[in-house]
Amino acid sequence: MLKAGLIVNPIAGMGGKVGLKGTDGKMYEKALELGAEPISPGRIEDVLDLVKRRDLYFFCAPGSMGEDYLHGRGFRFEKVGQTADETSREDTIRIASEMMAKGAEIIVFVGGDGTARDILDAVGMDVPVIAIPSGVKMFSSAFVFSPHAAAEMIDCCGDDYTEKEVLDIDEDAFRGNRLDAKYYGTVRVPDIQRLLQGKKAASNVRNSAKDKKKEVAKYIVDNMNRDCVYILGPGTTVKEVADALGVEKTLLGIDAVCNSESVGVDIGEKEILKLIGNHKMTKIIVTPIGGNGFIFGRGSRQISSEVLQKVGRENIIIISTLEKMGGLDNIHIDSGDYEVDREMGGNIGVLIGYNEEIIMEVKY
């Protein structure tokens, strides 16, 4: 019998689709005002539905932090701790500590980088964790790359553990177009590397890499279609395309161009869907996150599964540099919709130079 703690951050990831890049502090209220909907419940329900093993005994946090999702799924569980109506990071830390005291052998949690830091504060390296991504950023290498991977990890985990990093991302800096990622600490996770995402690597800004990005941008600009709207994802590589066109582009937000003119700056899912509806053709230009290779589902929730479905696999242009791609086994996608992810799967060419591509497999 494996005794597992279950903690869900019910508001993690809500800022993503509405372009807030996080729900720390007052951003949660703002996300609600903008019509954001909870993401974590769906994530943990997906995981629990996929888990096959039944020799599990859950210590769960109350209500929306855990208990709600275990009802009716055939698992044995016990509620640990108490929370007020509105949950907080203090609840996460306190309940994780209580689970550890009760003898939890592993903590399964759902959230983003902020939740990972809270769990780390509570359990350190004493208890291993399975980190299910549901935040906006999720750049820490401790996370598995999808709910399917999380379920497989719960099913397969044994006695082998490895150490993975938890990062501290400055949300205000992130909103302000800067990625300020610091090492926060280390957690233990089951040693099944293929199910873990890598960490976000600092973007390579050496001159040669910059030249390569310019080469890629030139190829994109030379081959742009008239009247087609191009949705530009985050990152310095994609920003190079906007720079080549001479239009404004946020570094970490989603922007759009059409006929070499800006038609959207730092836009959310709704605005993207509107642009798709108003144009005959839409293409999405994205770059994989260095170190873990995510193209969708990390840092750019505005490009939702609905957006991807409407645009179609054939209209997704992935751009990068050989230095970044050569260091990746695969590209990853975790749009939140397994069927969409599956359609995106398989071999795909990533543009890494002028008329030069590397063929990578998209994993989901």
């Binding site: 050989l322 230095e323 791609m325 050569g326 260091g327 990746l328 086994d329 695969n330 398989g346 071999n347 060419g349 890494i352 130079g353 008329n355 030069e356 591509e357 590397i358 063929i359 990578m360 497999e361």
Partner: protein
């Protein structure tokens, strides 16, 4: 400095042996002629078991492939594996070809050739693969590439270690060529002689020229006639490869089964290549252009391998 980064033979020859090997020094005032080239082609054809007209001799494999690309590249894409030799990619770039790289992924590094759309392409790869040491294509996969109208150039630089070849197929497929070298198992890297066993399409497209020099000509002729160096080198290297492989595994490295004179290894030791370099040992660090933690280690002579393992043991402590 111990150099285990270039897949060369670690065994040198004495001055006397070199003098015997590279005869003809008294005629260095004369160019090498087509008659002599013809003789060398015959020797290499016999070694490979093919007709003489299929043999093209050049100054290194890179140059042979470059020359082939120059003649046949029109309206073709270049397909290579990643990582790969940059020479061929640079040539393709200069020619304005579209370049497609196929990323190799651990642990099997298998290429699912049939799942990738490959048409009107020149496919260039190593067999065994460099740096993984694996044999990454089956005969039926190769035949499918060729029957789909692609050109395929296979670099069998480590053939003498793997004993696996597709040279026997060049008579059946006009757009297949196999390149080999005297640099590795024959221990003649300093002479830089490569050769191509070519299908009819290449024979009809490329003109034979004299690219090698007189010492190289004699060196190759004599090395082919007296294979004692080759046999001893390959036998020692394979024995040493097994020893290095086993010890590295004991030390906790991931060591991939190799068919060549090098090993592809992965370790959790950060900056392994740099730490070895500080100790006077050079290995090929693959983490710059490929995956973190991966190195390619050429198999050296016994004392070189012992030094390598000693230093790695110290680093692991």
């Amino acid at each position: 400095m111990i150099d285990l980064s270039s897949n060369e033979s670690p065994y040198g020859r004495s001055i006397e042996e070199m003098r015997d090997l590279c005869g003809g020094l008294e005629d260095l005032n004369r160019y090498l002629g087509y008659g002599e080239l013809d003789r060398l082609e015959s020797e290499l054809a016999e070694y490979c078991g093919v007709d003489k007209e299929r043999i093209f001799i050049g100054s290194g494999t890179d140059n042979l492939i470059k020359n082939a690309l120059l003649k046949v590249y029109e309206r073709m894409d270049l397909i290579v594996l990643n990582p790969c030799c940059n020479g061929v990619v640079e040539t393709a770039k200069d020619l304005g070809m579209r370049i497609r790289r196929i990323q190799l992924r651990p642990p099997e590094f298998r290429v699912d050739w049939k799942s990738i759309e490959i048409q009107k392409s020149i496919v260039v790869f190593d067999y065994p693969n460099n740096p993984t040491g694996q044999l990454l294509i089956e005969k039926d996969e190769l035949e499918e590439l060729l029957t789909n109208g692609n050109m395929v150039i296979i670099d069998e630089a480590a053939y003498e270690y793997s004993k696996r070849t597709f040279a026997g197929l060049v008579g059946d497929y006009e757009k297949l060529a196999v390149t080999r070298t005297l640099d590795k198992a024959f221990g003649l890297a300093g002479l830089r002689v490569g050769y191509m066993v070519a299908g009819d399409y290449f024979i009809n497209s490329i003109r034979k020229t004299v690219e090698i020099n007189r010492p190289a000509f004699f060196g190759v002729i004599n090395a082919l006639r007296n294979k004692s160096y080759l046999i001893k080198n390959v036998s020692n290297t394979l024995k040493e490869r097994a020893l290095v492989e086993n010890r590295l595994r004991e030390l906790g490295f991931d060591v991939y089964k190799s068919q060549a004179n090098y090993l592809c290894v992965r370790s959790d030791i950060g900056d392994l290549a740099l730490r070895l370099r500080v100790k006077g040992i050079i290995v090929e660090d693959l983490s710059q252009e490929w995956l973190d933690g991966y190195c390619r280690i050429s198999i050296g002579a016994k004392d070189e391998n012992s030094r390598l393992l000693q230093e790695i043991e110290r680093i692991c402590r």
